[in-house]
């Protein structure tokens, strides 16, 4: 995707990731409980942003219904605990269960386009919320708590929630990173650009979309169970709230659609805004909405894209060679796919949609 990131070989990335993860795992030993809680929240935001970015940036899917998997993972975990399973395994199985539901629904949803897909995912999330609220266990609007977690020592519980969010984030990022480098990634980017062109060149549209969709659902479900592990309470209106999708959209738009680390940067921005302006309630959320729209209008490639363009401009003016003309993305990727090229194309991607 970017020449400047070419030193990110599998080995260096793995080493850096291992080092960072190692440090982060040990971090709760030195910082206070408040910081651990905040970081858990940040990791959850990062995971959500990365998943939404995967769908929108890689496959051109704008979903307003990712809260379905966020909430469903938590609900399934509650159900499993109620039927006797230990809480932490139940959280993981719940997330996988939510991804399985996403897998089952994907052949239907993924045949919809653009706005229809956006609203149909939202309606599906609403249907799942209504059905979950019919379950007496959830007690309708009142919601419920994962009481089994109260039996765990609070310090250990805090640490486990932290570890769950960090672990989910790292694993999902590695999977996404691997996926983007694989033929599936090249294919899905081709879809994001122009699915008919991609299909005519032999990209298997549906399996690729499906892989991306189910993976993103799994990531959101993991974020949901990590949230449940930290918050213990399950409130259907909150856990299935459409605000999760709005926040995901914000993070991805601000950070940048077309790179893996853009959404993470967007999550940092949202986290900083939450910490500094969150007390202003609705006004802060209005700002989130306005900033999303402003970024979509004026800087659709986000901070990551702007930074990348700046580097390209600097690189181009440093060498006397003419700058690479903004390539037509479709032909780039479609030909790369047609040629069976698995690695990332070396030409810089044109980031303007």
């Amino acid at each position: 995707m970017n020449r400047s990131l070419s030193y990110l070989t599998p080995r260096t990335v793995t080493a850096a990731a291992l080092l960072a993860v190692g440090l982060l795992i040990l971090l709760p030993l030195v910082v206070g409980p408040n910081v651990v809680d905040k970081l858990t929240g940040l990791f959850i935001l990062m995971l959500l942003a990365a998943m939404w970015g995967l769908m929108a940036g890689q496959a051109g899917l704008v979903s307003v219904g990712q809260q379905a998997w966020f909430g469903l993972g938590g609900y399934l975990a509650l159900r499993l605990v109620d039927s006797g399973m230990a809480p932490y395994p139940a959280l993981l199985v719940g997330a996988v269960g939510a991804a399985a539901v996403a897998w089952a629904l994907s052949p239907y949803l993924l045949r919809l386009k653009g706005g229809e897909f956006a609203i149909a995912t939202w309606v599906v999330a609403e249907v799942i919320r209504i059905l979950v609220m019919l379950d007496p266990l959830v007690q309708g609007e009142t919601g419920t708590s994962m009481l089994a977690l109260n039996a765990v020592d609070p310090t250990l519980r805090r640490y486990l929630a932290y570890a769950l969010s960090l672990g989910s984030l790292v694993v999902m990022l590695l999977v996404v990173w691997w996926l983007m480098r694989s033929p599936v990634g090249t294919a899905s980017r081709a879809l994001g650009d122009d699915d008919e062109a991609a299909a005519s060149l032999g990209v298997r549209v549906m399996p690729t979309r499906r892989a991306v969709f189910v993976l993103a659902a799994l990531g959101c479900a993991l974020a949901g169970v990590a949230w449940l592990a930290a918050a213990i309470t399950f409130l259907p209106r909150t856990n299935f709230g459409v605000q999760w999708s709005v926040l995901m959209l914000f993070m991805v738009l601000v950070g940048g659609l077309r790179s893996l680390w853009g959404p993470l940067a967007g999550a940092l921005v949202l986290f900083a805004m939450q910490e500094s302006l969150g007390d202003h309630g609705a006004w802060y959320l209005a700002g989130v909405g306005a900033l999303s729209a402003a970024f979509a209008l004026f800087l659709p490639q986000g901070l990551a894209g702007a930074w990348q363009q700046r580097r390209q401009r600097l690189g181009a003016s440093a060498s006397t060679a003419p700058s690479t003309p903004p390539s037509t993305p479709t032909s780039d990727h479609a030909t790369a796919v047609a040629a069976g090229a698995a690695p990332l194309p070396t030409t810089p991607r044109s980031t303007s949609p």
Partner: protein
């Protein structure tokens, strides 16, 4: 049962009003305005504010229409027009952001309290007719349905007969040919966005008359509007009325089963219709008739053909 059917039918008029603007916007601009419900709520709050300032409710409602049409036209000019050339994703993203902005601005200004125009409306808000058989029908819902039919018929005539209407239809069906014939696309788009927003505001006002509105109600209105559009078939105004009525019927029949059934039944009808349309498209793409059995249900394929052409 008959009561529920009647209530559903009357509810349909309101949904048709809500959906008409969304459908027009999609037909002309090819964008799904995800802030449509929030614009409806904004219109309702404008009427509420004008009423609180001392205007009679009907004057406030009449005054809000041109004001909201202006809002829509400006929105098109400054925001949506910028997104039109950059693919289908960007308008979705921008309008989601706009919706969040509107909701939270309204919340910031007016607070979370649910408000209603029923007090300003006086006796009409509870007046009803009793039909033979003891069925009680609220007058307001009946007037809403009548108003919806009148507004849709007027809009249809405007689109069919006036210069502006012809320009709108031309720009919707073939933008390039329309431009060659001297249709100013930007102006047509502004007009369509203005009409669509005024329709949304009218629907929001009707909601405030019959029930309550609150700042975060917009997303649900958007879902209902979109469901009505899809159920009725995209791109046709009378289809919107049918879609609204079918949605209203599904909801009020669902509510007979359980309180949660109200929304659930509407959602499920929407998902089923969308699925049937996909199925027909899939069959058509393989050159097969939409339905495996030749007789009987053939009309279903005829029903969906219109939407297929509109979607193209």
């Amino acid at each position: 049962m008959i009561d529920a059917l009647l209530q559903g039918l009357l509810l349909g008029g309101y949904y048709a009003m809500l959906a008409a603007g969304l459908s027009l916007m999609f037909g002309v601009l090819r964008i799904i305005n995800l802030a449509h419900g929030d614009l409806a709520i904004l219109g309702a709050f404008l009427v509420l504010a004008l009423t609180a300032a001392g205007l009679p409710w009907w004057a406030a409602a009449l005054l809000s229409l041109p004001a909201m049409a202006m809002v829509g036209a400006l929105l098109q000019r400054w925001v949506l027009a910028r997104t039109l050339q950059s693919g289908p994703l960007l308008p979705l993203l921008v309008t989601i952001g706009l919706g969040a902005l509107l909701q939270n601005l309204l919340y910031g200004v007016f607070g979370s309290e649910a408000r209603s125009l029923a007090d300003a409306l006086g006796p009409l808000s509870w007046a009803s007719w009793t039909l033979p058989g003891g069925i009680v029908v609220g007058q307001l819902p009946v007037y809403t349905l009548v108003l919806a039919v009148v507004v849709l018929a007027t809009l249809q005539q405007v689109l069919r007969r006036t210069r502006l209407g012809r320009a709108i239809r031309a720009a919707a069906s073939d933008p390039e040919a329309a431009a060659l014939n001297g249709v100013d696309a930007a102006r047509v788009h502004r007009a369509a966005a203005g009409i669509a927003t005024a329709l949304a505001a009218l629907a929001g006002t009707l909601l405030a008359l019959r029930a309550t509105v609150e700042p975060y109600a917009g997303p649900m209105l958007l879902i209902f509007a979109f469901e009505a559009v899809v159920i009725g078939g995209i791109g046709s105004l009378w289809g919107t009325l049918w879609g609204g009525v079918l949605l209203g019927l599904a909801q009020s029949l669902g509510a007979l089963v359980s309180p949660a059934g109200f929304q659930l039944a509407g959602h499920l009808l929407f998902l089923v219709i969308l699925g049937v349309r996909l199925w027909c498209q899939h069959r058509a793409a393989h050159g097969r008739p939409a339905w495996p059995w030749p007789a009987g249900l053939v009309h279903l394929s005829r029903l969906t053909r219109g939407t297929r052409e509109a979607a193209r």
